[in-house]
Symmetry: D2
Subunit: 449 residues, 4 copies
Amino acid sequence: MTFDEGLLSPLTVGHDQEVTDAAALDALVSAEVALVRALARLGIAPPETGDEVSSALGWRAGAHVDVDVDVAALAESAASGGNAVIPLVSMIKAQVPEAYRRWVHRGVTSQDILDTALMLVARRATIEIDGTLCEVGMALADFASRHRDEVAAARTLTQHAVPTTVGARAAGWLRSVLAARRRLSDVSEHLPVQLGGAGGTLASFVEIAGTEHARALPAAYAAELGLATPDAPWHTDRRPVTELGDALVQVLDALGKMASDVATLARTEIGELSEGAGGGSSAMPQKQNPVAAVLIRSAALRAPQLGATLHLASTLASDERPDGAWHAEWPTLRELLRLALGASASASGMIEGLRVDHNAVKRNLAATRGLIISERLSLVLGDRIGPERLATLVDAVRAGGDLAELVRALPESAGEDIDALVDPVGYTGLAGVFVDAARRRALDHEEPE
Amino acid sequence: MTFDEGLLSPLTVGHDQEVTDAAALDALVSAEVALVRALARLGIAPPETGDEVSSALGWRAGAHVDVDVDVAALAESAASGGNAVIPLVSMIKAQVPEAYRRWVHRGVTSQDILDTALMLVARRATIEIDGTLCEVGMALADFASRHRDEVAAARTLTQHAVPTTVGARAAGWLRSVLAARRRLSDVSEHLPVQLGGAGGTLASFVEIAGTEHARALPAAYAAELGLATPDAPWHTDRRPVTELGDALVQVLDALGKMASDVATLARTEIGELSEGAGGGSSAMPQKQNPVAAVLIRSAALRAPQLGATLHLASTLASDERPDGAWHAEWPTLRELLRLALGASASASGMIEGLRVDHNAVKRNLAATRGLIISERLSLVLGDRIGPERLATLVDAVRAGGDLAELVRALPESAGEDIDALVDPVGYTGLAGVFVDAARRRALDHEEPE
Amino acid sequence: MTFDEGLLSPLTVGHDQEVTDAAALDALVSAEVALVRALARLGIAPPETGDEVSSALGWRAGAHVDVDVDVAALAESAASGGNAVIPLVSMIKAQVPEAYRRWVHRGVTSQDILDTALMLVARRATIEIDGTLCEVGMALADFASRHRDEVAAARTLTQHAVPTTVGARAAGWLRSVLAARRRLSDVSEHLPVQLGGAGGTLASFVEIAGTEHARALPAAYAAELGLATPDAPWHTDRRPVTELGDALVQVLDALGKMASDVATLARTEIGELSEGAGGGSSAMPQKQNPVAAVLIRSAALRAPQLGATLHLASTLASDERPDGAWHAEWPTLRELLRLALGASASASGMIEGLRVDHNAVKRNLAATRGLIISERLSLVLGDRIGPERLATLVDAVRAGGDLAELVRALPESAGEDIDALVDPVGYTGLAGVFVDAARRRALDHEEPE
Amino acid sequence: MTFDEGLLSPLTVGHDQEVTDAAALDALVSAEVALVRALARLGIAPPETGDEVSSALGWRAGAHVDVDVDVAALAESAASGGNAVIPLVSMIKAQVPEAYRRWVHRGVTSQDILDTALMLVARRATIEIDGTLCEVGMALADFASRHRDEVAAARTLTQHAVPTTVGARAAGWLRSVLAARRRLSDVSEHLPVQLGGAGGTLASFVEIAGTEHARALPAAYAAELGLATPDAPWHTDRRPVTELGDALVQVLDALGKMASDVATLARTEIGELSEGAGGGSSAMPQKQNPVAAVLIRSAALRAPQLGATLHLASTLASDERPDGAWHAEWPTLRELLRLALGASASASGMIEGLRVDHNAVKRNLAATRGLIISERLSLVLGDRIGPERLATLVDAVRAGGDLAELVRALPESAGEDIDALVDPVGYTGLAGVFVDAARRRALDHEEPE
C-alpha cells in the first residue's frame, strides 16, 4: 500500500530526504540510543552500555541508523497507544542484548522520545533549508547587482505608480529571504531535546540516579544529539514547536512573495521575467508556464494555516500532557518542514535561471506615456501650476499628447531641463542604495550559519 | 525512499486505502480511460477505442486499474510541469496500441484529469465515510437508548449546572453526526467530473466533434465514472472542492466534539466514561488512556485550518486557471478525506466499546450536595422566598447542610413534596424526548445513502 | 471612547446597519420580548403579559426596539459574567412593570438569548446580503450578455492559453455568485432560535408549564421572531453557526475571485477592465486604482480564517455549554456578516460600473502573434505534421514569422481555410452557451428569495 | 449608529484605550505631524514648520493629539480611496496655516502614514501589554512559590500519571509567560516607521531634499515617534507585522494554556482551583463560573487564525504595494492587540485571585488509591518482580487492595521503606528546582523592559 509517495506534492519530491518517515524512524531510534549513551556517559548505566546499545541498533556517530524496523508495520501498530514510540520500544528492545535491555527507554515517556526525534528531524531539515536559502540569497544578490540600474515600473494596487529598478525589487526579495534565514537559523540552533519523564518532573531519573544526575541528564542527552538543552521539560509549553513553525512560515512568506512577483511579471502582457525552464502544457504547445513560481506560491498559501494549527496545539496543550493537541502537531510540523525544503530548493533554481526581458521592461515603463513620473511633476511644478492644471496636463497626455512637449509649453517650467525631468531614469530615488545594502548584507551571510 | 507511510498519522493508517497515492493513480488512469470510453460511446472515436484503451491500461468496470506505472517515479517527474498528469500521459500512451494512442488525453487539459481523479477519489472515500458514519449513528442510537434515563450532571462553563441524562448527551452527539452525514452525502452525490479543455470552453471538443457532441460529452464522461455532470467547467469556480471540504470539516467537528466529551468524561476525577480498549503507557502501568478520543480530537483540531486553505484556494483561483492556488488544494483535500476516514473508523470502535460507570455518574450527580437542582428551587420557591433567602439556603448547603431538610424547614415549602422536588431524576425536562427523536432519525437513516 | 467606528474597515462602513452593536442590542431585547410573548401566547403567562412587556421595552412588530439601554455601559458590565445578557436582564427588568417582571428571561439561560439574538442579526443581515447579491447577479447577467461574443485571451498559470470571451469569464463569476446566494439563502431560511434552558433539556419550562407546553414553546418562540424551530437545543451542536459561516465564506470566495480577476485585468499592462469610479492616490495624480476590487479582495482573504475559527469553536463546544469556544464565535460571526455586507455592496457598484476597453482586449488577444490558437493547430494539423514540426512552426512565429503564412506554406494544410483556422473568433467553443445558461439561471433567481 | 462598542467583546472592553479608533486617529495625525517635524529638523522645511503644524493639529510631545476630526465621518469617507489617510490629509490640511500646508503629507504615500500609525498604536499597546504581563509574571512567581511543595496529581492524556506540585504547574505557566513577554518586548522595541514614498524608493524626498537628506529622513522620522528605523521601506516586506503578530499569538498561547488549565482544574469534580471572583449565572444561583479563564481561552482560540491572516497578507503583498492583502492586515492586527490587552489584564486579575483548595488537591492525589506512584514501583521493583506481577499488583489495588500492604507482602520489597516508597511526596523529582528557577527568572524580569 502506498500511503503517500509524493504524487500530489510535486514541489517537495526529491528534496525532503531529511523529513521522510525513514528519517523520522532514524531520529526516533537515535533519540532512544542517545538517552542510553547519556546514561552511560554520566555513569548511571554501566560504561559499555552506550556502545553496546548503539551497536545493536546500528547507530554510529554521523551516520544514519541501520536498524531492522519496518516503518509501515510500525505505523500500523502505533494506533493502539496513540504514537509510534510504544511499539518501537518493544521492537528495538528485542534487538538489544538482554544485559543492556533495561537501559533502553529507561525513565522516559514516549513524548520525550517523539519530541526529541522531531527536533532532530527539524534540526537536520533546517540546516538543509539554511544552506539552500544561502544559495537563494547569493543568487538574488547577484541578480540584484546585475540589474541594479535597470529602471522599471513600480506598481501599486496593480497600477503603474513611479519608477523603480529591477534590482531594487530583487533587493526587497533578498532582504526578506535574509531576515527569514536569520530567524530560522536562530530557532534552529536552539531546538531542544525533550526530557521530563512521565509528568515533566524527571522524578524517574531522580529515583534512578539522584537529583544531581537528573539535573545533569538533559544537557548530556542534548550533547549526544547536537541539540540544545531546554530550561525545563516543555511537554505542554510548545514554544520550540511554535517558534519553529513561525520561522518556517516566515521563510515561506518570503519565498511566496517573491514567487508571486515572478508569476505576475511573467504574465504574457507584462513579460518582464521568465523562468529559465518554464513548464510545458499537456495541451498548448506555445506555453511556457512559470512552474517554479506557481508551486512555491502553492506552498506559501498553505503555510499560514499549518502554522495556525501549531499555535492552536500550543494553546490547547492541556494538563501535564495534551489530549490530542500534541498529536495534531506531528504531521503539521513535518509538512511545514517539507514545504520549506521544497520551496527553497525550487526558489534556488528559479532565481538562478531567472531571465529579464529588457525590452519588455522598457516597453512597460513607457506604457503610461511618461505619466509614471507624474508624482515628480507634482513635486516640481505642483506649487507653481496648482492641482487643476496638473490634472489637465495628465488628461492631455492620456488623450495622446506628448508629455515633454506639454511640460515644455508651460511658462512655469521655464529653466527646467525638461528632458531630464520627464526621464524615469532620474527618478529612482535610493533604489541603488538599497541594492548595494542588501547585497552587502547577503555577502556577510555567505557562509551557512 | 519512504516519503510517508503513516508513521506520524496513527489515526488514519489502515483506514485510508481509498486515498493513498495508489488510489490516486488508479483514479488518474480511470479518468483518462473514461474520457476515451466516452469519446467512443458518442461515436467521436471509433467504437472499439474504449475497450482497446481500457484493456491496454488494465481498466475493468468495478475493479482497480492494473497499469504499469511506478508511483514514485511518476511523482518525481511531476515537478517540471507542475502536476503528475503531464508525465503520466506519456507513460500510459506508450502502453496503448498506436492506432488508438491519439485518443488518449485528446482535447483535455491536465486539470480536467486531475480534478476528475480527485473527485473520483473523494467519491470513493465519502461512500466509505458515509458507511462508517452509519455505524457510528447506529451505535450512538443504541447507546443513547440504553442510557435514556440515566440521570447525570449537565456541565456549563465547566461547572455542574442542572441534571441531564447520559442518553440526552449522546443524542446530541448523534444529531450532529446525522446532520454531518446528511450534508456529506448530499455533496458526495453531486461530485462532478471536470471537463473544460485548455480554457474552460470545450473548444477542442467542438473542433474535434462539433458543438452538439461537445455539449453531450461531460454527461457521457460523468456516466463512465459514476460522477455528476457539472453545469459548466469549474477550473476556477472551486465550489465542488470547498463544499466537500466544508462537509468533511463538519464531519470532523461532530466527531471532535464527541471525542472531547469522551476525553473529559474519562478524566480520572470524573470517570463516567471509559473506552473499551484504553491505550497503555510506555512508563505508567496503571494508565488507561482514552486514545481513540485523543486521536479523533487531534484530527478535529487540524480540520478547520485545512478547510480554510481550500477556501483561500477558491478565492485565489485566478484567471481561467489558478497560478498556485489549485496546487495547494490537492494535498489539503486528500488530508481532510484521510482524517475523516480515520476519525470515523476510530469513532465507530470508540462508541461501540464505550462503557458507562454508573457509580461515577451517580457520585458526580451528587457532588454539589443536591444544589444541581437549585434552578428548580429558584423556579418553585423563588417568588415565595426571594433571591436573598435562596442564596442563604445555597450557602447553607455548601457549608454542609442537608438540602432537603433545609427546604423542608421553610414555611413557604409547606405542601410541596420535598423529596420529589430535590430529586434530580424529576428535573430532566425533555431529555427522554430528545433521545427518542434522535434515535428515530438514526433508524430512518439506517441504510447508507 | 470610540471602541471602533470603522476607521480600519472602509469596505464595510455604511453597509452594516444590520450588524452594529445597536442592531445586536435590538436583537437581544427582541429575543427577550419574544420569549415573553410566546409564553403569553401559549397561556403560560397571563395573556396581557406579552403586550405589556413589549410596550415597556419599546418593542413593536416590524420596528426597531426603542429601549433605554446604553450600549457602552452594557458592554462594560458584560465582563464579570462573561456575556452581555446577564446585566441586560437587570437593566430591562427594571423597565418592566413589577407585575410582569417575573416573566422576563423566565426559564432561559443567557445562551438562549444570545444565540437567538445572533441568529436574528444574521437573519436580517443575510436578507440584506441576498438582496444585494441579487443585484450583483443581475448586473453580471447583463454584463455577460453584452460581452457574450467579445473574444479575449484565456489565461492559465498566468500565460495566454486559448481564446475565451469576456462574457464567458463573467458567466463564471455569475455561476459562483448564484450558487453562493442559493446556499446562503438556504441557510438563512433555517436559522433557528435557541431554547434549551440551563442544561439544554428545557426542564425549567417543563417545571413551569408542563411537558406539552415545553415541547410547543420553541416553535412559538420562533414564530415571534420569524426564525426557524430547531430539532433540539444546539448549545453545543454549533451547526447553525458553522453552516452560516461556511455560506458566508462561500459568498466571499465568489466575490473575492471576481475581484481578483478585475484587479488583474485592470493592471496597467493588461487594461481590459476598469472600475467606473477608480480610486485616486494621495501622491500620484495619474492613478486610477481598482479600489472596490482591492477592498473586496481584502475581505475575501480574511474570511476563510474567520470561518475556521467558527469550526474550531464547534469542535471545542464541550460539555453542555462551551468553556470559551462559544465566546469566540460572537465577534467572528459578526465580522463575517459585516464583510459579506460590505463586499456584496461594493461588488454591486463595481460590476454596475465596470468598463471594458475593447482595444485592450483585442490587443492582448493578439499578443502571442496568433499562437493563442496553437492548440487548435495541434488538433487540426498535429496528426499530419507531428509534434516536432509543430514546435518548429511555433518557434518561427515567436521569432517574428506570420502565423497564417507559415501555416499556408505547409503542404498538409492544403484545402483548409487558413484565415478561419487561425482566427481566435472561431475557437471559443461553448463560451456563448455558458453565457446564455448562466444568464437564464440569473433571471430565474431574479426575485430575492 | 454604533459600529462596535464592545458588546460582543467582554474580555477587551475597558482595556483597549491604546487601540480604539480614537487611538488610531491620534496615531495617524501623529504620523503626519512627525513627518513635518522631521522635515523641519533636517532643514528641508523651514525651521518653524514643525511647531506650527504641531500646534495647528493639537499635537504636543507625550500627550494625545487634540484635533478636530470626526472619526465616524472620516471612516465613511475612507471607502473611495481605500484607506482613511487620503481624506484625513484633506481634513487636516484645512486646519494648517496656508504657509505650512504644503509640508503636510509631502513626499509620502498613504501607506507610509498608515503603517507608521499602526506601528505607533502597536508600540503603545505592547508597552501596556508588557507591563501587564510583568504583573502576571510576578503574581505567578508568588503563586508558584507559595505552592512550591504542594503535591498534586499530574495528568497526561486526561489521566492521573505521576505526582507533580501545584507550584511546578504554575512554574510552567510562568516560563511560557516570561518567554512570550521577552519575545514581544524584542519585537516591540524594533517596531519601525514606514517611509518609502509612492514606490518605496524615497524618490520624492531625493527630489525635494537630495540623496543625503533622503537617506537621513527615516531615522529623523523614527526619532520623532519613538519608533525604530527600518533597513528599507517595507511596503511589501511585511515582517514587522508578521513578527508582531507571531509574538502576540505567542502571548495568547501562553495565557490560553494557563486559562485552559485553570478551567479544567476548576471543574466541579476536580475543584483544585477557583477564581477569586467567579461569574454568576442568569439561571443557576449555585454556580461560580471560571469566567476569566473562559474569556481568556476564547481569545486564545481566535488568535492563531488572526495570525495566519497576517502571514497570508505577507505572502500576497504583491508588486510594490499590495492589492488587498495590506488592507486585510489592519483590523486583524488591531484585533490581536486588543485580545492581548484584554487577555493579559484578565489574566493578571485571575492569577492574583486564584485560590487553591488544598483538600481537593489531596483528595484527587489519592484518587487512584496510590497507583499514581506506580511508575516508581516499576522502577524500584520492576526488575525484581517483572511486569506480570507488577500488573497483578496494580489490578489488586484497583480491586480495592491497599497498595502499601500489597507491596510489603512482596518478598522482593524486603528492606525497602515501604511507606516512603508509596508516598507521592517523595516522587516529585525536580519540581521544586523548576519552581525556584522560574521564580528567579521572573524576578530578573521585574522591571518592564
